[in-house]
């Protein structure tokens, strides 16, 4: 599979960004060559003995080779990336990282986990399952009657200390909840049931990622 990641962002670089970076690289290499040529020009006009002249020619060839090789490498890679077929629809990996339940909508993924102590945690991730900081979303958790769907009084979800997730502690007996999430541009309501025939079990203790 052809996959071009850039830094920690796995999305493709658009052609214009590839072009901008290519121009930057080529101008730098050209300027390095041009300025060095100006400084070293007298060296080539000296009437040296043939041995010395061939040595100068050899070193010049090596240095120019370094520049040409780098320029070729950058150009080739830029062209390959620019002409690569558009990325296939992103694979929505639905692995569970925290022992909770996964939901997906649009390019968002959320995992909601419950501990036996009654603590609920909500993690939000993007299409590539990269973590979204709790600084950028908020929410409320409501106890929910499993059969009627009736909601009880909600509790505001709090940010964890490292902003990795949102959390709230509810009564130990509440195992069916509705999570209301607010994220840039939209909101969503998600229903979860733990420790029943349909839902996952509550975790005994939190495991790391």
């Amino acid at each position: 599979m052809m996959f071009f990641a850039h830094g920690n962002d796995p999305s493709f670089l658009p052609p214009i960004e590839l072009f901008g970076n290519w121009v930057l690289a080529m101008v730098t290499l050209l300027m390095a060559a041009g300025l060095a040529r100006m400084a070293l020009a007298p060296l080539f006009s000296q009437d040296d003995e043939p041995k010395s002249r061939s040595e100068i020619a050899g070193w010049t060839a090596i240095s120019m080779g370094v520049l040409v090789a780098m320029a070729t490498w950058i150009t080739r890679q830029s062209l390959v990336e620019a002409m690569a077929p558009p990325p296939a629809p992103a694979e929505h990996a639905h692995s569970i990282y925290h022992g909770g339940q996964m939901v997906m909508w649009g390019d968002y993924h959320a995992e909601v986990a419950r501990a036996v102590s009654g603590e609920y945690r909500v993690w939000l991730t993007d299409v590539y399952r990269r973590s979204i900081s709790a600084e950028y979303f908020s929410g409320t958790i409501y106890p929910r009657e499993p059969k009627s769907g009736k909601l009880g009084p909600g509790i505001e979800l709090e940010k964890s200390l490292d902003n990795d997730y949102l959390m709230a502690v509810m009564d130990r007996d509440i195992k069916s909840v509705e999570v209301f999430l607010k994220y840039p541009g939209n909101t969503i309501r998600l229903d979860f049931e733990f420790d029943s025939a349909q839902g996952r079990k509550s975790v005994k203790e939190w495991c790391g990622r």
């Binding site: 920690n8 690289a25 730098t28 060296l43 070193w59 990336e81 993007d126």
Partner: protein, 370 residues
């Protein structure tokens, strides 16, 4: 964030200079070309240089404006588009300015070369227009830099944008980057001491001349292989087109190139070798220093660490330009050669100290109120 905001606020001020100056510069060049007016041609050259400096200032402040806009939760794709056009435009104008400086009305091939230059300049003005247009749309369509609440933005950030904003470098990545800066700090200190050794005419000059090229070429090869955490061998998961990797590899290439060049300089008559070697090193400082302004931290581009790194690269970039500039003054005022040489060595030591004490994040001399 405060430091980024300070620089970002200058971006809308700076962008006007290159747009006005470069358009007028090309108009004057065109007028001078058609009417064979040497004074217009001279003014065109001066304005092209001034406009390109303005372009650089707009670019540097733009890097900070990008961070502030991303934290404002503006969509990152249109910001990336604007930046890509700005990169292509800025570096093409740098090349055009260098080209233009060689076009003298008195020379035989002036008219032929000038016509090609004007064609290239007019095309690049098109790129400048697109850059300005895209920057304007960022404000009018997306509300970049506009004082409105995030919830009122017309185009909310995508999940990928939010994940990019949430990125943080791992401890290993930061340690590795810090270590690489320290290695190159010691290398720069070595080069400064080597230059001082030659300046003070200490014994064994013949052998000492070989040291600089060895340090520079060796450093370049080391950087080529070890530049980035987890980036060797390069593959499809972190290719050379990654802006951060690209920057490191180009720097490595020009280090190797100038290392070989400095070795070639040893072929010059004995008295000139020292001067030529240090001039080549100064050119490297100018090119490398200029590149530092466009350095992108792709690991976690909008983190507080990245903001600090941009500030440090800006400072080292300015020092490198000052370094190269001082050495170039030697060609204008050769009677003060001793003074220029000492300033040059001093500035190299300052850069070395800056790199040896480098930490990933804000330097000790900047108080950033997060």
């Amino acid at each position: 964030m405060e430091v980024s905001k300070f620089f970002a606020e200058w971006h809308p001020v700076m962008v006007h200079f290159p747009i006005a100056l470069l358009y007028f510069a090309v108009c004057l060049d065109l007028f001078g070309f058609i009417t064979r007016n040497a004074r217009a041609a001279w003014a065109g050259l001066v304005l092209t240089a001034a406009g390109t400096v303005g372009l650089m200032m707009a670019f540097i402040t733009g890097n900070y404006a990008e961070i502030v806009a991303a934290h404002q939760q503006i969509q990152q794709k249109p910001i990336g588009d604007h930046e890509a056009w700005a990169t292509a435009t800025s570096w093409t104008f740098i090349m055009l300015t260098a080209w233009r400086s060689y076009l003298k009305p008195a020379s035989v091939s002036y008219r032929k070369n000038m016509s090609f230059y004007l064609l290239a300049a007019i095309l690049t003005l098109g790129c400048l227009t697109v850059t300005g247009y895209k920057g304007g749309r960022l404000v009018y369509d997306h509300g970049a830099g506009v004082n409105i609440p995030t919830s009122a933005l017309p185009h909310p950030a995508t999940p990928q944008d939010l994940a990019n904003l949430s990125l943080k470098n791992s401890w290993e990545e930061l340690e590795y980057s810090g270590m690489m800066h320290h290695v190159f700090g010691w290398l720069t200190l070595g080069l400064a001491l080597w230059q001082a050794y030659q300046h003070f005419q200490l014994p064994g000059q013949e052998r000492a001349r070989a040291l600089g090229p060895i340090m520079l070429t060796g450093g370049g090869i080391f950087l080529m292989i070890c530049s980035d955490w987890d980036a060797w061998p390069l593959g499809n998961t972190l290719p050379i087109t990654d802006p951060e990797v690209l920057f490191h590899k180009i720097l490595a290439t020009i280090m190797i190139f100038f290392g070989i060049g400095m070795n070639l300089a040893r072929r010059r008559p004995k008295g000139e070798v020292n001067s030529l070697q240090s001039h080549l090193l100064a050119i490297l400082a100018l090119v490398g220093g200029g590149m530092l302004f466009t350095h992108v931290h792709t690991g976690a581009p909008f983190s507080t660490t990245a903001m600090g790194v941009y500030v440090q690269h800006f400072v080292v970039g300015c020092l490198a330009l000052a370094c190269g500039g001082v050495k170039m003054l030697e060609t204008v005022k050769p009677e003060y050669k001793k003074l220029w040489d000492r300033c040059w060595i001093f500035l190299l030591i300052v850069i070395a100290v800056n790199l040896i004490w480098y930490v990933e994040g804000f330097p000790w001399y900047i108080h950033n109120e997060a």
